[in-house]
């Protein structure tokens, strides 16, 4: 990674935040910073890297914004500005957080603006990756499996909505901040899971881009180190991400039980285990935070089992039972049924599946098919596979289901 790439990676969000705080023009700031990076890519190799690379980018970007503002016609000059909290202008870029510690509040403002409840979740996710981390639009498009122009339009729309809907560049008061940080966590997790939603061909998984969502959580956690939802989510993401190199083979998905466990990233697993032991998770937790904790505990059971057979399915079922109390969802019920089948046999798993339906999902039928196969009920299994195949909209997964059906 060049010096420029490194500084862009580390400083992008802070530079966007500082420029927004100064100019409040969401439509200009990102382009100006992009221009500055482009200028740096031309001049730094010849003139050498400046002593303060981030400062250089900031100065150059600021000059671009000023140029643009000067050439704007009167009509555009009346353009709506981003709302900011007035107090920041008095207190400057650094303010006291309620913990008493100094935080880089401008970056937190930026994060909270991007993950705002008035934005559609996918837009919030994309915008966070773009503005906070500087992930290229092409990569964000790849992550969410949409064409680049579609993603560019989505990001532009989201920016317009922020200005139009009066979403402020501000830190809300302490009574709503935990909920807003829960939403930041959900936004990051959406980006993360998008990378593991099966695509096709070389984009089967986009785990490298899921890594960017982890980076987003680390940035926010750097600002709010004691936020339980973020601590638990980071643990959960690290555990899932630790399997990235073992999850595909020759363009096909490899199931958990068949993965080469030596290819798991054990440093990630160790970090996640440390995070889960953090005192901030002793509670009380919000429901989303508790849900991340439980999902992470389940992932730890998988991550620390030396072989698939040694998996403590009984403990996994217990975690799912708790998860269903804390945050009931059909997908958690489905996952519990799978765990029950591993722990107590296919018949018990089929009982646990009873009455479970997830609209527009092939998964309940796919699991039922697998369990019926294990139970030896070939006819019923075939019917369940037919149902799953008909409902499946992903080529890779459908191919997998068709293979399973052939094997009956």
């Amino acid at each position: 990674m060049t010096e420029l790439e490194l500084v862009v990676r580390q400083e992008w969000g802070r530079l966007v935040a500082l420029l927004l705080a100064q100019f409040r023009r969401l439509d200009l700031v990102e382009d100006a910073l992009g221009d500055a990076v482009e200028a740096a890519s031309r001049t730094w190799p010849e003139d050498g890297v400046p002593d303060n690379p981030a400062g250089w980018l900031m100065t150059t970007a600021r000059r671009r914004v000023l140029d643009r503002l000067r050439t704007e016609d009167v009509a555009r000059r009346k353009q709506a500005l981003l709302l900011t909290d007035a107090e920041r202008h008095q207190e400057g870029a650094r303010t006291m957080a309620d913990s008493g510690a100094l935080v880089e509040d401008d970056v937190l403002r930026l994060v909270l603006m991007c993950a705002h409840p008035a934005l559609a979740p996918e837009s919030a996710s994309a915008l966070s990756l773009r503005l906070v981390l500087g992930v290229p639009t092409a990569d964000i498009a790849r992550l969410f499996l949409v064409p680049e122009p579609t993603m560019a339009a989505r990001i532009t729309r989201a920016k317009k909505r922020i200005v139009g809907a009066g979403i402020p560049f501000a830190v809300p008061d302490a009574s709503v901040l935990p909920d807003r940080l829960d939403l930041v966590a959900r936004t990051a997790y959406l980006a993360f899971t998008a990378g593991y939603a099966p695509g096709t061909g070389p984009d089967l998984l986009r785990a490298d881009l899921s890594g960017e969502a982890i980076r987003l959580v680390r940035v926010v956690l750097g600002l709010r180190p004691a936020e339980p939802a973020l601590v638990a989510l980071l643990a959960l993401m690290l555990l899932q991400h630790s399997r990235r190199d073992a999850r595909t083979h020759d363009g096909r998905l490899v199931l958990l039980a068949d993965q080469d466990r030596t290819r798991w990233h054990h440093d990630d697993i160790a970090e996640a285990t440390r995070l889960l032991a953090s005192p901030v998770l002793a509670g009380p937790l919000t429901r989303p935070a508790a849900s991340y904790v439980l999902q992470a505990r389940i992932a730890v059971e998988h991550a620390t089992a030396p072989t698939p057979d040694a998996t403590r399915w009984d403990r996994i079922v217990e975690c799912y039972d708790l998860l269903l109390q804390v945050e009931p969802s059909p997908s958690a019920r489905l996952a519990r049924a799978v765990a029950v089948a591993e722990d107590r046999g296919a018949a018990a798993g089929l009982d646990a599946l009873e009455g479970l339906e997830i609209p527009d999902s092939h998964r309940p039928a796919a699991v039922r098919a697998e369990l019926l196969t294990r139970a030896g009920d070939v006819d019923a299994a075939r019917a369940a596979y037919d149902q799953a195949i008909a409902a499946c909209r992903n080529d890779v997964e459908r191919a997998f289901l068709e293979t399973q059906r052939e094997r009956l």
Binding site: A282, G283, T286, R287, A290, R297, R315, E318, L322, Q325
Partner: protein, 116 residues
């Protein structure tokens, strides 16, 4: 003599939205219930409304020897216990009748006898 716990589950969100006259009607109904208890010779041991369930803390074993402690009520249903009466009575039939009248005035009631 037995003790009875009278739980009052209610759709919490709705109650806050109701106009003041509905709140007054509710209060009047509670006062009537107090009179019914006194007339029936039932002893009121304790009575209180509860703070909103959002202020509750729920704890459960986490399966690893610790506890999972979450904000909010145990289960997040629309109906939450918003108050209770603890009553001592030797006449369960009369207590039931008083509770039934209370319910017919608009209250949701769960009557439980204390075991043992």
């Amino acid at each position: 003599m037995s003790r009875y716990l009278i739980l009052l589950p209610a759709p919490e969100a709705e109650w806050a939205q109701l106009p003041p006259e509905e709140h007054e009607k509710g209060m009047a109904s509670h006062q009537q219930f107090h009179r019914d208890l006194a007339e029936g010779g039932h002893t009121l041991v304790a009575v209180s409304p509860l703070e909103p369930s959002a202020e509750a803390t729920s704890m459960r074993p986490d399966g690893e020897g610790g506890a999972l402690v979450t904000e909010g009520p145990f289960s997040e249903t629309a109906e939450q216990v918003v108050g209770f009466y603890l009553v001592e009575s030797g006449d369960e039939a009369d207590l039931r009748a008083a509770c039934t009248r209370f319910a017919s005035r608009g209250e949701h009631i769960e009557l439980r006898r204390l075991a043992g």
